[in-house]
């Protein structure tokens, strides 16, 4: 048990009363509420002796003194949860007061350790408990989730927008160039989605095996991996099987598209995508451990996806597609970049030298602003130079989101859960820019058809 610190006395002072407990002569715990005064200089707590033999605080055994606080919020639950308990010995009452000398302390205050972090730090206890329970019952007892939710969590399905944006944009650019095949477009979207989900799952496997996810006690909705292995929701074998199935499906579709289009360029783009995705976390390359994670994500979910989708339709590369892929690449890399901020402590512990691990906070936030603005500058330059249709300037409407994220990062750099809202805005930024670029292309194609 941790020793008692001066701060524990100060904390105990903050509770309006305490509950004093001990084990009575019949072998049952017994508790009584009473008032208290701490004396940090003497390292003691003065307790008002409760009346009656049934609750006379004993002097010959361990006594527990507990302060507890909760702030009920009708309709919402409660917050400001905290408690502190001290173990020690008590004296006979003098003038109606007992002197309690604590020897050890334990507690939790959600203002210091947020509930989600407290839960995360307790995962080993859950695993231990369930392992012992399984041994006791003679059958395996594991945590569960409904299959649909488990698939969503395991594959991190909501992140598929990072695939839809470049793939649909590549298809739209090809359509503007007069090349469009519904069937191939559909197959491309499915193949790219399978590749993305397969890469997510394989990254999870390597991050769990490397200890990066376990070292991270501040996972959020957007960061820290799926944690399905850490939570024991699936086995390693199941996860590997899923990754193989998803990547196998993606590869089969990729080969079909190469066959259907006869494009060797597409083959090389596909190989580059899979290699980048796996090598992102897989040994021995582990791009993300070398500070190359952001660049590999930019390449994979920018040019690789967009040019791949374009080549399926058009059969060759084009400068317009290359230019259009740049802002998408930058913004998707910035999703990862911001999501790495709350992960940086766990990443550092696991040797993942991401940019937020390597760089001071002020530099990280400045790089975000510069890179995000650069993505809009590329759109403007592309439209002004005539490489992109002028209607792609619609994407500038999403620019104010950059400042929201930037301010959020600056303000909540060290508060993972407060930062979560801005991580969400950052994901939205990528999605909105993608949708607005698509809208720009839709208008351009419509005008082309009309004119």
């Amino acid at each position: 048990m941790p020793r008692v610190a001066a701060s524990d006395f100060a904390k105990l002072d903050g509770y309006p009363f305490v509950v004093v407990s001990w084990i009575d002569d019949a072998g049952y715990p017994v508790s009584v509420a009473t008032d208290h005064q701490t004396d940090v200089s003497r390292g003691v707590v003065s307790l008002r002796a409760a009346a009656g033999d049934a609750v006379a605080i004993p002097t010959d055994r361990t006594v527990n003194v507990c302060g507890s606080h909760i702030h009920p919020k009708p309709g919402e639950g409660y917050d400001e949860r905290r408690y502190l308990q001290l173990w020690g010995t008590a004296t006979e009452p003098v003038d109606g007061r007992v002197t309690f000398t604590p020897a050890s302390a334990w507690g939790w205050d959600e203002a210091e350790v947020p509930f989600f972090e407290y839960s995360e730090r307790s995962v080993p206890q859950s695993r231990r408990y369930l392992a012992e329970l399984s041994a006791e019952k003679g059958r395996t007892i594991r945590p569960r989730l409904a299959l649909g939710w488990l698939f969503l969590r395991t594959t991190r399905l909501p992140f598929l927008s990072a695939t839809f944006v470049p793939v649909l944009l590549g298809i739209a650019i090809a359509a503007r160039h007069g090349a469009f095949d519904w069937w191939l477009a559909l197959v491309t979207v499915i193949g790219a989605s399978l590749a993305h989900l397969g890469i997510n799952v394989s990254n999870d496997i390597f991050d769990t095996l490397s200890g990066a996810d376990e070292a991270n006690v501040n996972p959020t909705q957007f960061s820290g991996g799926s944690r399905v292995l850490i939570y024991d929701l699936v086995t390693l074998r199941q996860l590997v099987s899923l990754a193989v199935a998803l990547l196998g499906g993606a590869s089969a579709i990729g080969l079909y598209l190469v066959w259907a289009t006869g494009s060797s360029t597409l083959l090389w783009i596909g190989i580059a995508g899979i290699v980048l995705g796996i090598a992102y976390t897989a040994p021995p390359i582990k791009l993300v451990h070398r500070g190359l994670g952001e660049i590999s994500v930019a390449l994979g979910f920018g040019p690789v996806m967009l040019l791949g989708a374009y080549v399926v339709q058009a059969g060759a590369l084009s400068w317009e597609a290359v230019v259009a892929s740049v802002p998408v690449a930058i913004l998707v890399a910035l999703i990862l970049y911001v999501n790495e901020i709350p992960d940086r402590t766990g990443d550092a512990a696991a040797g993942k030298r991401t940019l937020p691990v390597r760089l001071p906070p002020a530099v990280v936030t400045d790089i975000y602003l510069i890179a995000a603005l650069a993505s809009f500058a590329v759109i403007v330059a592309g439209a002004v130079s005539g490489l992109l249709p002028p209607f792609t300037l619609l994407a500038l409407a999403a620019a104010p989101l950059v400042l929201r994220v930037y301010r959020g990062i600056r303000q909540y750099y060290t508060s993972p859960y407060a930062l979560m809202a801005f991580m969400g805005v950052n994901v939205t930024l990528h999605l909105y820019v993608g949708l607005l670029l698509l809208a720009g292309y839709a208008v351009a194609i419509l005008l082309q058809l009309l004119g």
Partner: protein, 162 residues
């Protein structure tokens, strides 16, 4: 039917938090704030497997005490009580079993729990839970919460205790 007095039952029905004291590995008292539920006979508490040390303690020694003492957590009621009893951990299926046993009681006290339960995917281990069922054996009641006066001590009538 239960034998606890009406003021104690009222405390149990409104309490958002009670202090459950169990007997630790070295025989020491260990206290955990928890939400108590009451079905008119037995007291139920429940614990995520994340915070399951208390369950291990109870399985080693099932004697427990529950203190109801904080007017803020008791919706302004000022009486205080401590209920001693024997606890049983119900844990055959931490995923489902607690839902059938205590969700209705929990929902009645904390309707917001349904919203949290819908987001089970976000915190799956929090909703892997065991139920602690306490059979009350002795009760100490302090009317108006005044512990400077001896408590009213009650035990179950002979036919209940038997």
């Amino acid at each position: 039917m239960g034998w606890l007095s009406e003021p104690v039952e009222r405390l149990l029905e409104v309490a958002l938090v009670g202090e459950l004291t169990v007997i630790g590995r070295r025989g020491q008292p260990v206290t955990h704030p928890l939400i108590p539920l009451y079905d008119g006979e037995r007291i139920y508490l429940h614990s995520s497997t994340l915070f399951s040390k208390k369950l291990e303690h109870i399985k080693r020694n099932p004697r427990v005490a529950l203190s109801l003492s904080d007017p803020v957590a008791l919706k302004g009621l000022t009486d205080r009580a401590t209920i001693q009893g024997t606890a049983r951990v119900i844990e055959d299926d931490p995923h489902e079993q607690w839902v059938g046993l205590v969700l209705d009681l929990w929902r009645r006290k904390e309707p917001v729990i349904d919203a949290f339960l819908k987001a089970r995917v976000a915190l799956p281990l929090f909703f892997e839970r065991a139920v602690i069922e306490i059979t009350p054996e002795r009760c100490l009641l302090w009317p108006d919460g005044d512990t400077s006066r001896p408590p009213i001590v009650t035990t179950p009538p002979a036919e209940v205790a038997a």
